[in-house]
Amino acid sequence: MAILSMSKTLFKSLVHGPYTVLYPVKKKETYERTRGRVEINISQCIYCGLCQRRCPTGAIQVNRGNTTWSIDRLKCIQCNYCNEVCPKKCLRMNNEYTSPSFGSVRDDYTNARVSGDKENN
């Protein structure tokens, strides 16, 4: 039966200083693989709709006619599946998280491609 068995640990932490990160002065470093939020390079997207079909939560909407790609940030579960199936590799997983919000956050991306205009496409 030991008494005060915790004291060694407690004295160590007294001189150690805080183990936590002093947010917001200091922010926690993210890792290269940290799955934060999905980003798209819209100019390369071919609107094939694979990401929309594979998304487990149906967060992605692709409209080939209007050339729009949109994502519901709060539906997205950051599984990275869209990123892996994208044939043009125009999707990317950013390390930064979507900031908290009260309502739904929807990001729409529209490509300014002009049909038949080879120079600008």
Binding site: A2, S5, M6, K8, L10, Y19, R54, P56
Partner: protein
């Protein structure tokens, strides 16, 4: 015979991380009977298998539980791989084992912290979780997620761990082992902690066997039952012995979990030492057709996965039997005769995961 009173316990209670309700029949301060009621967080994840295709469902299977998320994903993938007769690369098996054992460490450290909180040892709770944070950082660095990894897929794993990172993990674990010894020493030898756990909630070996207890609950009662000995993933290539205790009380259950944390450290080190080179996944073509049962040893005990598929990309049936569900009858047995003040710690000793149980 004293006065009989019924005290409702839960679903909201400071000690419970998740909702479970117990009607405690008391005779003065002693519990004579406990009647459980579950069903507060049923999410219908098994039904969802009809709406999401079998590849997408990997991400749903992981979300059955927040703590053993990797093992749920692994169990589901192993079942589908068995149906489709897929042999995954050896490196993927080792990587799965490493992540599974890290999950075990993370789960047990979480539980140790919660139990310290339940018997009112706040600083011990904080220090245990401080150590757990290092495991979560390893997860974030290797998989990209801290709790939900999304790293297991049908046919292998989605991400590799570089040799440098494996060395780093080895180093972190070596340093962590010293700190773990210091913290777990408090759980095992401090007089105030022992006063709350020693001899409390004794479950005899026969009772544990009859009630079908699994995991640390059964191991603490002297039943040598550990599914890892079957050798799924890379466990067949690693040397280990299931940990058992014979007392069957809360102290024995704490001790089993503490020893399993050290065992997990040892298993990860063994796996890192002999991990082979090679690919991490194989291409999956076609749809599953058939049915299969898989059993996996989770931190809380054995979990069973059943899948029935009929050749389409949507599965017919998916069923999970989680360890907490199997341990509830054993919990009710241990509650009989205990005092009301011991109920919170006894509920915690089965390591309840109600989200898993209700899916």
């Amino acid at each position: 015979m004293g006065n009989r009173t019924v005290i409702p316990f839960g679903p909201q209670h400071p000690v419970l991380p998740e909702p479970i309700h117990l009607d405690l029949m008391l005779e003065d301060e002693r519990v004579v009977e406990a009647i459980p009621r579950i069903g507060y967080i049923h999410r219908g994840l098994e039904k969802l298998v009809e709406k999401k295709d079998f590849q997408q469902y990997t991400y749903v299977a992981e979300r059955i539980c927040g703590i053993c998320s990797f093992m749920h994903g692994m169990g589901y993938c192993m079942t589908i791989e068995s149906i489709m007769d897929i042999k995954i690369p050896e490196r993927a098996e080792f990587l799965r084992t490493i992540w599974a054992e890290l999950s075990r460490m993370h789960s047990h450290l979480l539980w140790l912290g919660l139990s310290a909180d339940a018997f009112g040892f706040e600083s011990l709770h904080m220090h245990t979780w401080r150590l757990r944070e290092q495991v979560l950082d390893i997860f974030e660095e290797t998989t990209g997620g801290r709790v939900i990894f999304s790293v297991c897929e049908i046919g292998g794993v989605r991400k590799d761990i570089s040799p440098e990172t494996l060395d780093k993990i080895d180093r972190i674990l070596t340093d962590m082992e010293k700190e773990l010894k210091e913290i777990t020493h408090v759980f095992l030898s401090d007089s105030s902690v022992k006063y709350r756990t020693k001899g409390i909630g004794v479950l005899s070996k026969q009772a544990a066997f009859d009630l079908g207890a699994v995991g640390p609950m059964a191991k603490a009662s002297g039943i040598k039952r550990d599914l890892r000995t079957q050798g799924y993933a890379a466990y067949g290539k690693l040397k280990f012995e299931p940990i058992i205790e014979t007392d069957g009380d809360s102290y024995a259950r704490t001790s089993v979990r503490i020893k399993e944390v050290f065992q997990a450290v040892d298993l990860i080190k063994q796996a890192i030492a002999i991990i082979p080179e090679g690919g991490i996944n194989v291409k999956v073509t076609g749809n599953p057709n058939g049915e299969y049962f898989t059993r996996v040893e989770q931190p809380r005990g054995s979990a069973m996965y059943y899948v029935k598929a009929s050749g389409s990309k949507f599965l017919d049936r998916f069923r999970v039997r989680t360890p907490t569900f199997a341990n509830v009858p054993a919990l009710l047995e241990t509650l009989k005769g205990c005092s009301l003040a011991d109920v919170p710690i006894l509920i915690l000793t089965i390591d309840p995961c109600i989200s898993c149980t209700e899916r």
